[in-house]
């Protein structure tokens, strides 16, 4: 395991710098670009004295670097403003809706990764044959499909025309009351498992099917394409040919040798596909009325609720940087050739 402590420390310091960068950009968006930043903070219909108070609170009469200092301080203190829509502190809203989004994105992401690697390998082994062509076409369509459109189409077909899958909400409210289900961690799968509440678990899973399918399309397409092209190149390497000539069955060559070479670059690309998944969550949660961060920011966009929009986006950007750090560390751990 070639990961040294200095590497970790260096990366974590770098993460801190990246978070600072994210905040500087959001500061420019909220305080420098708008003509009257105080209106973004309190709302367009605020009274004169509210606006005056906001000007003082945001220190808009002071030099820009002082404003930036207090902006950063407010962020780290958790003062992200009050949402106009929910009338609650933005940070509180985000923390309550985080588990829903994590449950959805992690499920979609894991499924996309597993199915993507398998399909990619199948395509590579059958390079140029029918199976390869079909899988390649699937991957191109998956990577090109507009998530918001796919979500609407699936909802129309499976919830309205043939109502086999319920759409909207994470769980049926009447079921919650009927079975006495209590959200503890707000990860509903976990909560229902802890309480051994099978009806709620089934309902939660059923309601996740359509959003997960919609959300996993882009990372699925990306993973198939990546795995396929890496595997095709690896299969051309001399060692792979040698192993086959040696008499090793192809499946064994693939499983024992090729997979190792393929998996590292695919993992390196996971960070980016995670980025696309969270962006997709913004639209998918809005369409399926799935109350996570995506739904929160989406509703904020539709009602011009600026503290919530910016708070949500900055939060997601920070999480994204964190995921990229984790992906890099896993990549370095799997592939010892990666230099620090």
């Amino acid at each position: 395991m070639p990961i040294t402590r200095t590497y970790l420390v260096k990366r974590i310091l770098l993460l801190f710098l990246v978070v600072l960068g994210v905040l500087v950009i959001s500061f420019i968006i909220t305080r420098v670009i708008p003509a009257r930043p105080e209106l973004l903070w309190v709302g367009l219909h605020a009274r004169a004295e509210q606006i005056e108070r906001a000007r003082k609170e945001l220190r808009l009469d002071e030099p820009i670097y002082v404003q930036l200092y207090y902006y950063l301080a407010d962020f780290f203190r958790g003062n992200w403003g009050i949402s106009w829509r929910t009338r609650q502190p933005v940070i509180l809203d985000i923390i309550t809706s985080l588990p829903a989004t994590l449950e959805l994105t992690i499920t979609a992401f894991t499924l996309a990764f597993i199915i993507g690697v398998i399909l990619g390998l199948v395509a590579a082994v059958n390079y140029g044959k029918l199976a390869d062509k079909v899988i390649s076409l699937i991957s191109i369509i998956a990577a090109s499909i507009p998530v918001f459109w796919l979500g609407l189409v699936l909802q129309t077909v499976f919830s309205i025309w043939y109502p086999v899958l319920p759409a909207g909400m994470r769980v049926d409210p009447s079921l919650v009351i009927g079975t006495g289900f209590k959200p503890i961690t707000n990860f509903y799968i976990l909560d229902s498992l802890i309480q051994l509440n099978i009806p709620v678990l089934l309902d939660v899973l059923k309601r996740m099917i359509l959003p997960v399918i919609t959300l996993m399309m882009y990372p699925l397409g990306l993973t198939i394409r990546m795995t396929r092209s890496m595997a095709i190149e690896s299969l051309q390497e001399v060692y792979a040919k040698a192993l086959e000539v040696w008499g090793l069955p192809r499946s064994k060559v693939l499983y024992k040798y090729i997979l190792k070479n393929v998996i590292a670059p695919v993992i390196a690309s996971l960070g980016l596909s995670f980025g696309y998944t969270v962006t997709g969550a913004l639209m998918v949660e809005l369409i399926f009325v799935y109350p996570g961060i995506g739904y929160y920011v989406g509703m904020a966009l539709l009602s011009f609720d600026y503290p919530a929009i910016l708070g949500g986006i900055v939060f997601v950007a920070v999480i994204y940087s964190l995921v990229n750090l984790i992906v890099d560390i896993i990549h370095a751990w799997i592939d010892p050739r990666v230099k620090f």
Partner: protein, 289 residues
């Protein structure tokens, strides 16, 4: 150039899937260019008038894509929408390319403190997930075609700056650059005359491959209500307008989305074709089979 194009077309013809992509892209560009002149109901397309008596007509011979909540013919709106998708995507790519190339060129060639600062700024932008930064900018800038282009270009250029930076770094140690420096040419002249033309190809190629994604992201912005304002019939906008009526009039969202899907698939297929054509190793493997 002519022979390369002919060679590429020959390469395309042998691969039906790539040919399909090529045809889709050409058709999209042609329709986008001539859209205002082939409309049968221009007032419907531009959304100037409305006629509630023919609202929510399902697809028929007269209205192949149906009509929307205001009785406008969806086919006409979708045709005009292609023009907006084309213009927005092209402007985003060109604007991002200009910023990205300049930043990458300066950062790569000057290196030192300037280079480090420029690349750290680039990294700051890359720390946001794709599209989210554009959403943030667009929400503050307000809805308009120009603001959509600006918001997307702001979130797009860092990718090109990165690519350009890497490309410049591999070019700048070449012998002809060394020679230019020895004969006493200035930094600026070397940068413009020798480094720029020789490091541009990878960035331009990538930019061409990105047109499909640019179309997709522009429509996502409009879908979220921070892109182009009504009554502009941009495809994402059309889908978002039909969203409320999806249970009683599926066609309002279905057809614009289908066109969006086909167009993006076309650009991605063509992109793959270009990639395979330019990667001789991949082509050789293919030829052996």
């Amino acid at each position: 150039m002519d022979t390369i194009l002919r060679d590429f077309l020959k390469f395309l013809v042998k691969r039906p899937l790539y040919t399909t992509g090529f045809i889709i892209v050409v058709a999209f560009i042609i329709v986008g260019c001539i859209a205002p002149y082939i409309l049968t109901k221009p007032e419907d397309a531009w959304g100037i008038t409305y006629d509630l008596s023919r609202a929510f007509q399902p697809p028929s011979l007269e209205y192949p894509f149906g009509t929307d909540a205001y009785g406008r013919d969806m086919l006409n709106r979708v045709i005009l929408g292609s023009r907006y998708s084309l213009i927005i995507a092209m402007c985003v790519i060109v604007l991002a390319l200009i910023i990205g190339v300049i930043v990458g060129l300066v950062a790569g060639y000057l290196a030192g403190v300037t280079g480090t600062i420029l690349m750290r700024i680039t990294d700051m932008f890359l720390a946001y997930p794709p599209l989210l930064l554009a959403v943030a900018f667009a929400s503050v800038l307000g809805r308009s075609v120009l603001n959509t282009i600006i918001a997307l270009a702001i979130s797009w250029w860092p990718w090109y700056a990165r690519l350009m930076y890497v490309s410049v770094n591999s070019v700048k140690s070449a012998l002809y650059v060394e020679a230019a420096r020895v004969i006493g040419l200035g930094k600026f002249t070397i940068m413009i005359k020798y480094i720029l033309p020789n490091s541009l190809i990878p960035v331009i190629t990538q930019a061409m491959l990105d047109i499909g994604s640019a179309i997709l992201e522009a429509s996502a912005l409009s879908f979220l209500g921070v892109g182009v304002p009504p009554p502009i019939p941009e495809w994402g906008r059309l889908i978002s307008e039909g969203w409320v009526y999806v249970s009683k009039a599926y066609w309002i969202t279905f057809f614009p989305g289908l066109m969006l899907l086909i167009t993006v698939v076309g650009f991605n297929l063509l992109g793959d074709a270009v990639k395979e054509y330019m990667n001789p190793r991949l082509r050789n493997i293919a030829a052996k089979r």
